[in-house]
């Protein structure tokens, strides 16, 4: 039996441009999101373990690293959610024109930062 399957061209093959950069970011944020939701799972489990265990979460949350991770998770989810809308339009066959695709990409990138700020600045 053949053990090796054909691969997608690796990342270094492509010329850097907005479309590929945003596409790679979509996949990278999917991995961050897995880490993020697992992290939230830890929050739930520490809560289940009781006040003593949850206290460690509270200490972690009060550190700079904690805040940094929370803001990072927020941006990662924001980007993936917003760029996911862009992907759904493509699934229905809309938005492929180069100008539109670039414009929607910039819009998604800006909006992801705005949404992150909305969550944390107010």
């Amino acid at each position: 039996m053949k053990q090796e399957s054909p691969l997608s061209p690796h990342l270094q093959v492509y010329k850097w441009q907005l479309s590929s950069l945003l596409s790679i970011t979509h996949r990278l944020t999917s991995i961050f999101n897995l880490a993020g939701i697992s992290f939230f799972g830890i929050w739930a489990i520490m809560l289940f373990m009781g006040e003593g265990a949850f206290y460690y979460f509270e200490i972690f949350a009060s550190t700079f690293l904690g805040k940094f991770i929370f803001v990072g998770i927020t941006w990662s989810f924001s980007y993936h959610l917003l760029n996911g809308i862009r992907h759904l339009f493509w699934d229905f066959g809309y938005g492929y024109e180069l100008r539109i695709a670039n414009l929607s990409g910039i819009l998604v990138l800006l909006s992801s930062f705005i949404l992150t700020m909305l969550v944390w600045a107010f």
């Binding site: 691969l7 799972g41 489990i45 809560l47 289940f48 924001s78």
Partner: protein, 109 residues
């Protein structure tokens, strides 16, 4: 329906359902992470909060199980390693939501 097509469709349906839930989650996220123990318990005693968080865990892991499979399909050359990676993601996609939802339900009920 072809197996691959139904997977593709399930992934998109999960994504659409996740969008409003995740937006709600993000808008609450800054408060949620800084609740103390009794405030966090109170948050989960609200049945709607409990339901939304549980749905997020179920749909997110359904969505990412299929999505990670697509990434493995693109970048893992060796069929055995690919199968192993898919199996590990399947395991994670069962254990984490089951553990998290059980924990939240026990705290909230």
């Amino acid at each position: 329906m072809n197996h691959v097509v139904s997977k593709w469709l399930i992934q998109r349906i999960a994504a659409v359902l996740l969008m409003p839930l995740l937006l709600w989650f993000l808008l609450n996220f800054d408060n949620l992470m800084y609740l103390n123990y009794s405030q966090a318990v109170m948050f989960l005693k609200n049945k709607i909060n409990l339901l939304i968080l549980s749905l997020i865990f179920l749909l997110a892991f359904l969505h990412l199980k299929i999505g990670m499979g697509e990434i493995f399909e693109d970048y893992l050359h060796n069929t055995k390693i690919k199968k192993l990676a898919n199996f590990l993601i399947l395991l994670i996609s069962i254990i984490i939501p089951v553990a998290a939802i059980s924990a939240m339900v026990i705290v909230g009920l």
